[in-house]
Amino acid sequence: MSDQTASQTGAGSGQERIGLLRVLGPAHVWALGVGIVLVGEFMGWNFSVGKGGAYGALIACWVIGLLYTCVAMIDSEVTSTVAAAGGQYAQAKHIMGPLMAFNVGLYLVMAYTMLEAADALIVGDLLMILAEQTGYDALDPKPFVVLVISFLAFLNYRGVFMTLSLNFIITAAAFVSIVILFVGVQPWNPGAILKHSELLTDLPYGWIGVIASFQFGIWYYLGIEGTCQAAEEVRSPSRSLPLGTMTGIITLLIAATLTWYVCTGLIPWEYLGQATVPLYDAARMTGSTVLQVFLFVGTLFAATASANGCINDASRAWFSMGRDRYMPQWFGAVHPRYRTPFRSIIFLIPIAVSFAFTGLLDQVITFSILSGLLGYTFMPINMILFRRKWPLGSIKRGYVHPFHPMPAIVLMILCITTFFATYLGFGLQLLAMMAFYVVVSIWFVKHRYKYVRRADQFTMNWPKPVGY
């Protein structure tokens, strides 16, 4: 059996090879990117209301939306060219060098694994709410948290096509639930259900409050850059990746604006800024049981889709680092039948469960956001170096983003602003995270890099960069 399977998956170049399966299309890329993010519409974003008021949250929604639009534009160009599993890790390796790549790889694994744990915690919390509403207030969420992680890991283990097809269905259903809520509150009839004229106020904490709200504006979009991780499994990366990523960010901008509009028209900002599940609470405020059920299911689906996408992305990043020996090569194995990075998927299960069992949802999410933010800060530098080393026309690009270098400059300015905003609220965590990455960087340079096959890691058939 082993001979048959291996020969079926061989590359046909004399040596039998097993690679990841190229079966995905633009819809799967969309489902991966939006699936990871959409849970942020159902919860988390509303803490920006607590910092900056309703209008402050809207400014954060659009300013951070601009940040992520720059991320999507830059990612689309680089990934349509560096089409390899690992996404930004592979980009950094080819464009900036091993140390940056090692750090970016860790940002990705940490951000996605922690987000996965937070998503599983959210599912557990939702079931606790449901149990309480049915009269049982002693539900232990742990078995359901483990069930979510186990089931999604099982799905990821058995193949990427089914995994992301499921993600497409549940992500689309969650998005539709937001649209249904928007229609259900009759936006064409202001004052009937939505009370914006009564609930919207001036900025409660001035412009510093608006800046402080930026860190929570990230929740609307955190993870859209995860589309890059599918690069080695899409049928046509130069077409599917830009299409999936750009339609994904458009979907999120629409969903974020609808979410803000509905919630701020139903819930006073003082309460909205502290709510755990604001969209579900907004549905409850309408008094409609149907809307309540839709939003409960939407929240459940969004959290599940996010955890599912996170398992996919974290395992690809870890797998890529193993394949290049940045981590033990053992993790670079591909399952001969399912064609998935099975050892990386298994390895990350207990880590996600451990994060989830801490029960510290806010801390886990904060570290996830900080890792993501570090990754975004690398992107503008990466983009400028990419265009400088390989100018337009020197290599084939699947997509060329317009207005270079404006998106890179805008992204860098917004990242610095958001770091400042994060420092205001989570200064200690930010410094702890920076210290962690400095220590592991020293470990990589002093100990790990000697195991890396320096020639083998550069696989792109590109000309030498300008100036080298």
């Binding site: 990841l20 483990v146 670079g332 591909v334 099975f342 026309g393 020197s394």
Partner: protein
């Protein structure tokens, strides 16, 4: 009912995790390490058309 659901959740989780581990052990036994680690980075479509101008040079 919720208590029963808790037990079912534990049971299903254990079953899926055991299946994953058992399958991974079986694959590790049936296939040699070189085959399992034979994946190469990149995508054929881009590798074939990667260089636009002139011959691609080895960057190693």
């Amino acid at each position: 009912m919720w208590i029963l659901l808790e037990y079912i959740a534990w049971g299903l989780s254990a079953a899926m995790l055991l299946w994953i581990v058992a399958d991974a052990v079986r694959v590790n036994r049936e296939f040699d390490e070189e085959t399992l680690l034979s994946s190469k980075e990149g995508v054929d479509e881009l590798l074939e058309h990667g260089a636009v101008n002139g011959n691609a040079e080895d960057r190693s």
